[in-house]
């Protein structure tokens, strides 16, 4: 590429034949400036850097020595600038990128309140334009969006936006207390189980049964129709009906318990896995355990982030020991009671509790202890049964 910018280079030519060089340069019609003699058989001049290539031809076979000075002029200034140009350009680009990227929203984090509200807020914010990649300036302000969010999300009591650099943190507070205005359909309360009512706490609705009355499954306890005979109103019934219920649990406990315990001895074996093919494990020696449990772990081999298709398989072999313990009558009862209690508790739910337990029957049969346990429990048997107003009778 031919340079197009002005620039001059100082040249010193030393040698007896310098007139020949000058003559040749003249024939090549090279423009020279400030030709001075700088010593004996030595001249110094300046020429444009375009014509530097002519000097070599001119000096060819004259025995003159050419010394070039550092050039001056716009071309060299620019050349110097171009050397650090890329550095400066990338610096500017990097600064511009950093400065530019801080003007955009990168992520939205929603904090506080319940997951449902968070989800709703996230969706609403997205609709309002708070999506990653949007410029901060184009986003609506907090004052603009908060009324919309309060209106859209009932359970939201307060929200605040906080910028952490390019991250937007949305703080939320949910409403607490009597905010649940979900309209329930009119309903009765019926018994979910057979039992004797011990106590009733009716919030709405009218009780039909009294305390101490025995109810069957599905029997009406509280009616959702309140008021006088003429104009009865349908209301959603609500209340807790604690009733005494009974359970009989059959439990069978073997009189021998076989337990497998780890002794603590461990052996390891290694092998490599390649495309589903496994190499023989190392070491090859046989494991001296009579009974053992194996645990296999396979790890990817990774070097500096590159994952090889080979897997390292480690087999941990733990020695186990079998212990047989005989279960006597007392222990069997305890085990059976524990198991039965758990089962009953899972049936009667969280608010219920076991009042009384009694062993009804006990039998040793073929190395097994069979037990029938009777439980008396107190539990909430209220079951809400909605009805439509048309079909009320």
């Amino acid at each position: 590429m031919k340079p197009t910018l002005p620039g001059t280079i100082g040249v010193t030519i030393k040698g007896k034949a310098y007139p020949v060089v000058l003559q040749r340069l003249y024939q090549q019609s090279v423009v020279l400036h400030s030709i001075t003699s700088s010593g004996e058989d030595e001249i110094h001049f300046y020429l444009s850097h375009y014509e530097l290539s002519h000097i070599r031809k001119a000096v060819f076979k004259t025995g003159c020595k050419v010394k070039l000075e550092k050039g001056s002029g716009l071309a060299f200034e620019l050349e110097h600038a171009f050397k650090i140009r890329s550095f400066i350009i990338w610096m500017v680009i990097a600064i511009a990128l950093v400065m530019g990227s801080t003007r955009f929203l990168w992520s939205v984090e929603v904090q506080g309140a319940t997951p449902e509200i968070r989800q709703e807020v996230e969706i609403a914010m997205k609709e309002l334009g708070y999506a990653p990649g949007k410029s901060k300036k184009s986003l609506p302000t907090e004052n603009q969006i908060s009324p919309i969010l309060y209106k859209e999300i009932d359970q939201l009591s307060w929200m605040g936006l906080e910028w952490q650099g390019t991250k937007l943190i949305v703080h939320l507070k949910e409403k607490k207390g009597s905010t649940q205005t979900v309209k329930l359909p009119p309903s009765h309360i019926v018994a979910s189980k057979k039992g004797t009512i011990q106590s009733m706490q009716i919030e709405s609705g009218q009780a039909v049964e009294n305390v101490n009355s025995v109810v069957k499954k599905g029997q009406l306890i509280v009616t959702g129709l309140v008021g006088r005979e003429e104009d009865k109103q349908a209301v959603p019934s609500k209340g807790v009906v604690m009733a005494e219920t009974w359970y009989e649990v059959n439990v069978t406990v073997p009189d021998k318990l076989v337990r497998e315990t780890l002794t603590g001895n461990e052996k390891r074996k290694w092998s490599l896995q390649l495309f589903g093919w496994t190499t023989p494990s190392i070491p090859f020696t046989k494991v001296p355990f009579t009974s053992a449990v194996e645990e296999i772990k396979s790890d990817d081999i990774e070097v500096a982030g590159f994952r090889f298709p080979i897997k390292k398989k480690t087999t941990h072999i733990y020695e186990t020991e079998k212990t047989i313990s005989k279960v006597d009558q007392k222990a069997a009862r305890e085990i059976a009671l524990k198991v039965a209690k758990e089962e009953v508790l899972s049936l009667i739910g969280g608010t219920g509790k076991i009042q009384q337990e009694k062993f009804l029957h006990e039998q040793n049969d073929n190395g097994k202890v069979k037990l029938i346990i009777y439980f008396q429990a107190l539990e909430d048997i209220a079951k809400v049964q909605p009805f439509s107003e048309e079909t009320r009778e």
Binding site: L22, Q23, S29, L32, S34, I35, S37, F45
Partner: protein
């Protein structure tokens, strides 16, 4: 250039009233004061020294004596010499290769 060609050129110049330096490729020297010398139609440099510059011209060479002489610029057919010029010697010599 042969003599008859020079003569023909001189004749054409005189009949057409054209300046001789254009036709014959002769040098035109402008001496301004004692410090600037303008030489047109030169044929190159022969010697550059502080006190002496020898310029080749069509029919010989120009020897310029002086002090602290310096060629300010040398274009293809124009040359500016700066410095204290005391004398100019025009040596006519056909070819003008050697001093």
């Amino acid at each position: 250039m042969s003599r008859w060609l020079t003569r023909t050129k001189q004749w054409i110049g005189s009949t057409l009233q054209l300046p001789d330096d254009l036709l014959l490729d002769l040098p035109r020297v402008t001496w301004i004061g004692s410090f600037l010398l303008h030489i047109e139609n030169h044929k190159g440099l022969l010697k550059v020294e502080d006190h002496c510059i020898v310029v080749k011209v069509f029919d010989g060479f120009l020897k310029i004596n002086g002090d602290s002489l310096q060629i300010q610029s040398m274009l293809t057919d124009e040359m500016t010499i700066k410095g204290y010029v005391s004398e100019i010697i025009y040596n006519r010599q056909q070819g003008g290769e050697d001093e």
